[in-house]
Assembly symmetry: C2
Homo-oligomer: 237 residues x 2
């Protein structure tokens, strides 16, 4: 019944974009409301598609260390002409860029986290910056015990410094930390560092029009439908 015997994690570290919050739906809805002529779905997908290439420019050293807020802005400025929005003022661009601070959680997230919080330490582990994650949590009522981010470790996921950094912060073995994410590549990188892993199905991450493969990978410690299912499965561990 000890942690060692049951192998229960002590800390749950959560990926955020896609896993905790519905970036596609939130961005699409707000863009469509602000600029009715723009196709929100396409705008959201295009903005997010710029994310990995922009991050690679940081990781390769081409760009110095850059907060996600600033990466989002770089991508946005390139995107606006394609959607006929090149006349947006600086204040409008700043407001639009902060959309990533205002993303809505999936409906299971807040009740799921509230149940999990009674037994585990809950933290974020996101490439989003601390300010973004804090503003998002305050608006959405996400009850984190601690906001951890690429900004703390000065490295982006999937750099091992991020996964191992969570264990180090809490003075735990990597196997006492579980990464919770809707992305198999993130989980695979965490597993390679010795963390436990829980996959969360988010079939609508890219919208209803583009259903995502959510098939299980047996390498994960847990495969779960959503945060309530995660709480159920962990309560039996």
């Amino acid at each position: 019944m000890t942690n060692e015997a049951t192998n229960a994690p002590r800390v749950l570290a959560f990926d955020v974009f896609g896993t905790v919050v519905d970036w596609h739906g939130s961005v699409a809805r707000e863009v469509q409301a602000l600029y009715p002529g723009v196709e929100g779905n396409a705008f959201a997908l295009a903005w997010r598609a710029g994310y990995q290439p922009a991050m690679r420019r940081v990781m390769s050293g081409e760009l110095g260390w850059t907060l996600i807020d600033d990466l989002h802005r770089l991508i946005l400025d390139q995107l606006l002409p394609r959607f006929g929005l090149d006349r947006l003022s600086e204040a409008e661009r700043q407001h639009l860029n902060r959309i990533w601070h205002r993303l809505d959680p999936w409906p299971d997230v807040v009740p799921g986290l509230q149940r999990l919080k009674t037994r585990y330490t809950l933290c974020t582990l996101s490439n989003g910056n601390i300010g973004l994650l804090t503003n998002m949590a305050k608006r959405a009522g996400l009850p984190w015990d601690c906001i951890l981010s690429a900004e703390v470790f000065r490295a982006y996921k999937p750099d091992p410094a991020t996964y191992l950094g969570v264990a180090r912060v809490f003075d735990l073995a990597p196997s006492e930390v579980m990464l919770v994410a809707a992305h198999q590549d993130d989980l695979a990188a965490a597993r390679a560092c010795g963390l436990q892993t829980a996959y969360i199905e988010r079939p609508a991450e890219f919208g209803q029009a583009q259903v995502k493969d959510v098939s299980p990978d047996p390498a994960n410690t847990l495969h779960t439908r959503d945060f309530l299912d995660l709480a159920n499965q962990l309560s039996h561990s």
Copy 2:
């Protein structure tokens, strides 16, 4: 009525040891309970007295970057023989050292923070490490929006990188951040960086036997009795 007009802060950053938690009373009580022969008051004061000198060894470069958990342990190991506790096992030393994760808040803290949280973003700004501050908050029910620490900025207070780091994290001007602390030197260093400052009276910080000078410094933005008084004064701003 804008923030600029009223000069209201957006983020409140709290010093922790002494300001939020009663380190003296908590350490003295637990040491006395664990080791009835030891004078808890003297033990608490001696442990804390080792803190500034140990931190200076880090800041001078004599020690590399060291978490407060490890500094506490260095001091503890030197302290135990003076109190007749040199026979303590490694496990007992580890347990005792984690006492700093189990400090009790002053009675006004949780209700005060709950009131403040509805209007402000609340974060720690402590030389304590992230894991310590997270464990303390979870045990004591401290409703931080974000845990910030010397560990995030790789610098100890009173280094300007810590105070300015809070403003940078939240993309604010320094004057939109207020440091809340029971120590005038901490507040003076924050003020020199352009932060607003609120002093909290904690006359019993060093125990009942050694009453602390809590006289106001007019340079502070606010002088307050406790966190409820702080909430009252800020609600009129």
